[in-house]
């Protein structure tokens, strides 16, 4: 299915997951808000560079975790038909750092949703502590960036991402949100 030979379909996905920064969703209210979790562990290689001697989760990877939480929320609101990518970090503030052994909770909320773009707000906590506040804007790239060519299939929302949603009960009792709108 994918031209570069990487198989990200279903079970083979876990061996190939190098750019997933959340572990699972624990709440999902379609079109409104979602909560995901991320465990921070010493086996994550990048920690050893940041910093050598005292590993902490890089703030930019926390932004990515929030972007994935919010991005999936936004994408699902349109049944994953659009390719939704991070276009702007409106604002992010970090109040404390995060260490291996910490479990993060990421709360994301859709603030505005339009055919071409979406705006989200979010916060990250670790236990009782507020770690960060992160507000983002996403662009639905087929509707913008006129003149740039993209592969037709939805390369943003691979099965790997959608599998993060699989065990969730949905508000309306359906699991329809997992059905892909892509052809």
């Amino acid at each position: 299915m994918l031209s570069n030979g990487v198989d990200t379909s279903q079970n083979g996905a876990f061996a190939e997951m190098r750019w997933i920064w959340i572990d699972k969703f624990v709440e999902f209210h379609s079109g409104e808000s979602a909560v995901a979790v991320k465990n921070v562990t010493l086996t994550e290689e990048h920690l050893h560079d940041h910093f050598p001697g005292f590993p902490v989760m890089p703030e930019t990877l926390m932004i990515e975790a929030m972007a994935q939480t919010s991005g999936i929320l936004v994408g699902e609101a349109n049944r994953f038909k659009e390719k939704v990518i991070l276009a702007k970090v409106k604002k992010c503030v970090f109040f404390d750092y995060v260490k291996p052994g910490d479990t993060l909770k990421l709360y994301a909320k859709i603030e505005s949703l339009a055919p071409e773009a979406a705006s989200t707000s979010g916060k990250i906590t670790c236990g009782e502590k507020l770690i960060a506040e992160i507000d983002l804007m996403f662009s639905h790239i087929d509707q913008n960036l006129a003149g740039k060519e993209f592969p037709k299939e939805n390369f943003v929302f691979t099965d790997t991402f959608k599998s993060l949603l699989r065990d969730l009960p949905f508000d309306d009792g359906s699991s329809g949100a997992l059905e892909s709108g892509q052809d």
């Binding site: 994918l2 031209s3 570069n4 990487v6 990200t8 190939e16 997951m17 190098r18 750019w19 997933i20 290689e45 990048h46 920690l47 050893h48 560079d49 940041h50 910093f51 050598p52 001697g53 005292f54 902490v56 890089p58 703030e59 930019t60 990877l61 932004i63 990515e64 972007a67 990518i85 991070l86 276009a87 702007k88 970090v89 409106k90 604002k91 992010c92 503030v93 970090f94 750092y97 993209f150 592969p151 299939e153 390369f155 943003v156 691979t158 790997t160």
Partner: protein
Amino acid sequence: MRIATMAEIMRFILIDKIVSLERGRVIKTVKNVSLAEEYLADHFPTFPVLPGVLLLEGLIESASWLVREAENFAHSMILLEEARNVKYKSFVAPGAQIEYTVEAKTIEENISSFAGFGESGGEQIVEAKFGLRHFNLADENSAMAATDAIIIENMKKRWELLR
């Protein structure tokens, strides 16, 4: 705790070289983007581009070196405190090189603020305004002084590789 070996160092460093540096004022760095970077396989399949947050990381690392050099490596920990209006204007694909330019607005003892941008092949890629905070672990807990020393030692070695 030990000093990281060379083999362990190179996994989360988002700049390859410091091109120029004006103490406490401006730094220019470059990063090469290569298919060898594993996360590109996921971002995105069939359309590999450097993730936006790693572009921001390149700007942050560039700014961090400006701070470390200006304060003579006084602090071990330099972290992003806040970023605003980080805009992604275009994509960078494998084979391309990004040039980062970061200007310091202020550098104080424990905080600093910057404006930076990245371009590639004459095209604007990213711009951001952001602030860092710098401190030593020993500030809160004197038992951590040895750890601070190890981090600083490692960063000095990294500095030698990058400049």
